[in-house]
Amino acid sequence: MLLHRYANPTRFLKLANAILPWAAGAAAILIGAGLYYSFGKSPPDYQQGETVRIMYVHVPSAWMAMFSYAVVAVASAVGLIWKHPVAHVVAIAAAPVGACFTAICLATGSLWGKPMWGTWWVWDARLTSVLILFFLYLGFIALANAFDDASRGERASAILALVGAVNLPIIKFSVDWWNTLHQPASVTKMGMPSIHTSMLIPLLLMALGFTALFVALVIVRARAELAARRIRALRSARIHRDAAEGVSA
């Protein structure tokens, strides 16, 4: 049983290490190109003026906030149902990355809201549900680290991740279900996106760049987590062995 839980996930690491340089390289190139388009190529918006440039970091980080949570929830489900040890590791690796994207989304949204809406914050459905998403991430991270027995922590946090997944459709459809200050989707809606190509390009470049960055960061963090687990397993094995040696001596 111990062997299963701390099985060296060699296959996962092999695949992850093959992907890592490509993901990191793609992130650097795509984000670099995204910055060039965000500040150099795209025109000011006819209504938002230059503040539209905040959108090129705000919208992709909002997408990533939700995408990361979906990854955490799916990995948690896989971990709970099939007891796959690497699944929990991926969930634990992805959660802080998602929390960071959510924080960026909230901060940049606030900095856009002040000049455009005239307020830093309103308690409307979209903003509140994204704030809840941020707290779900924090709760997940806290729960995962709250137990001495790591397997209890990962189970508890996985259950929280699954329960919190109901928040994802609420975020997505909040702008349609309720009367909110936040505008509805212009890119991810039925039919053609209703924004001009000159603004769609930086949005998509940043979104793809953030996705590649997410992949690279999850791999790096998963490697750290796997190493930490091996260290714990080796340490406890050593303690048992030392104790046995102490008895026999």
Partner: protein
Amino acid sequence: MSAFFGMGGYGGYIWPAWGIATIVIAILVFASVHAMRARERELAQLEAETPRRRRARGDAASVEGDGA
């Protein structure tokens, strides 16, 4: 140049927004890579010690101090 940084009067909102994003991502990347390197180094050290101890098992005189 100053027109670029002024951003049509919205520079005070646009640059902090991108600045916060840059700082958060930079800290996340740095912390993640640093943690990975530190843990993998510690693990390698621990694994290098373990076989020696296994071979020495039963030999009470060879019990080393508590390594890393």
